[in-house]
Subunit: 326 residues, 2 copies
């Protein structure tokens, strides 16, 4: 019946709203996952940042440590892009759809309200028609009874003409009343049939049409949101790609020659290798006699310690280039 169809549509459109609300919830949970992911990446980046004004910070002079710092900073931007996903999904999908689902609920309510009103109206018309028909039926019976009474009086020779005339007038009156009821019933019936036609061929189809359009708009809307869902995600890809390019660039700028040169510069000392240790000749007292040997090496300048700690302008670097030495 029509009522079954309304019930089915009421259930189906409620299901449509449930689907929409489920989708909103799904996207909301996705935004929370993105936020949590971004937060973890930001914390990771923060955790490995050099402590300000620390020795650690000074160590970030090397290309390798600078590349790590760049990686950390890019991871932070990378995290930011997942926040962008979250924010855009919230503003372009969940917020929009939440507003829309409220409108949709309102609109749905109004269509089914109109449906119920139309149903009630046609039922009221039906009751009026029934009442009109019953009145006509009753009046016909009354007219019939009055007619029979008149005929009975008319056939009775013991009845006065005045009484016959009274019964005839009564029968005519009743007949007229029945005719009036018939006219009213006929008019009510015509009105009902017209209303019923209007109901089934205009009002109800209009309501169904509006519900169908509402449904179709809901479907279009959820389709658009699903497209936005992918689009919001796709939009950050080039920026994430740039973050990765920056990490690659930083990694490629790692220069082992530069870094080891910096270590050499940092650790070069005023230290130079000690020269040869001189010969110390203790034979001077012996020189008083003619010695049988002569030590050519003897310069007797009294040095007795190798220059393990001597300071000099010529600096020895901890890393001596092999080719300089060999």
């Amino acid at each position: 019946s029509l009522q079954d169809q309304f019930d089915n549509l009421e259930k189906h459109t409620q299901w449509g709203i449930d689907v929409l609300e489920k989708y909103i919830k799904f996207v909301k949970e996705r935004t929370e996952i993105e936020l949590s992911y971004a937060k973890q990446l930001r914390n990771l980046s923060k955790k490995y940042q050099p402590k300000k004004n620390s020795k650690e910070e000074e160590e970030y002079r090397y290309t390798s440590t600078r590349a790590f710092l760049a990686t950390l900073n890019e991871m932070n931007d990378y995290a930011g892009q997942h926040e962008v996903i979250s924010e855009n999904m919230t503003s372009l999908i969940t917020a929009e759809l939440t507003r829309y689902v409220q409108e949709l609920k309102q609109e749905r309510k109004s269509h089914f309200h109109d449906g119920r009103k139309a149903q009630q109206h046609i039922e009221t018309c039906w009751k009026q028609l029934e009442a009109s028909k019953r009145r006509f039926e009753r009046d016909c019976k009354e007219a019939d009874r009055a007619q029979q009474y008149f005929e009975k009086m008319d056939a009775d020779i013991n009845v006065t003409k005045a009484d016959v005339e009274k019964a005839r007038q009564q029968a005519q009156l009743r007949h007229q009343m029945a005719e009036d009821s018939k006219a009213e019933y006929s008019s009510t019936l015509q009105k009902f049939n017209s209303e019923q036609h209007e109901h089934y061929y205009t009002h109800i189809p209009n309501i169904f049409q509006k519900i169908q359009e509402m449904e179709e708009r809901r479907i279009v809307r959820i389709g658009e949101s699903m497209k936005t869902f992918a689009e919001v995600d796709r939009q950050v890809i080039p920026i994430i790609g740039k973050c990765l390019d920056e990490i690659t660039k930083a990694a490629e700028s790692v220069d082992h020659k530069n870094d080891s040169q910096m270590v050499i510069e940092a650790f070069k000392s005023g230290f130079e290798p000690p020269g040869d240790v001189d010969f110390e000749d203790f034979t001077q007292p012996m020189k008083r006699t003619v010695s049988e040997s002569s030590l050519s090496n003897s310069r007797g300048d009294g040095k007795s310690e190798p220059k393990f700690s001597s300071k000099s302008k010529g600096k020895l670097w901890p890393f001596i280039k092999k080719n300089k030495v060999l």
Copy 2:
């Protein structure tokens, strides 16, 4: 001093290992974040899957619900790509670097062991030289004393020639011993100077060179890992892009006309709008007399209920196309 330089290098290379281990830890934490993100996305996808053999599953006939299902499945693949990031970072970075850092620690240990051995060797040589010098000095003093004793005896007229001769021989012996010590000292000195030169110009520079090369390999290695870090991430972008394209495609396949047609098909009933209600004429008994009016509308077929529940082959769909009606 050289020892300071070794100390500095020992500290610096330890710092290098710490940096490497810190980077390994950083990447490990990144892989954990990726895994947790992937797990959350997978759970999200799973949570919204239709329950098997449920009414819900049947509802996935509509293009809109199928698009949602496609979104869920693509999110699952999307999650899988973040697992790929995690797995590749683990195998290509953390596992590799963990192995490498063990080798590096071993190599570093061996270089500083060589350095200490060289230092100890040159100190031992220095001690030998000192001992040799002291012996020479002592022997010179002994020779000097023997010479003075001989000279004193030689000048003493009360001493026998035999005693003088004995003192002369003793002085000559002591002189010879001093000469021998001098020769040995001289030889030790030459050996020491040669060793010392070797130490400062060959052994130590070689060790420094090896440490420098080790350092440079470490820097190259961390740079390569940083590049891999970005590369592993970049590799999944096209696949994630494909997931997003599939979501877009599914969203674009949402067909509101198709879905509303399916609703119409599902809910169409055997119900058709009732026809006009017929006029019921209760005036038949009145017909027995000549009635003053005649009701043209009367067919008297006795119908008294509108076909609110009539069954018919001609079906009315809940959504009637407006153009069919108006």
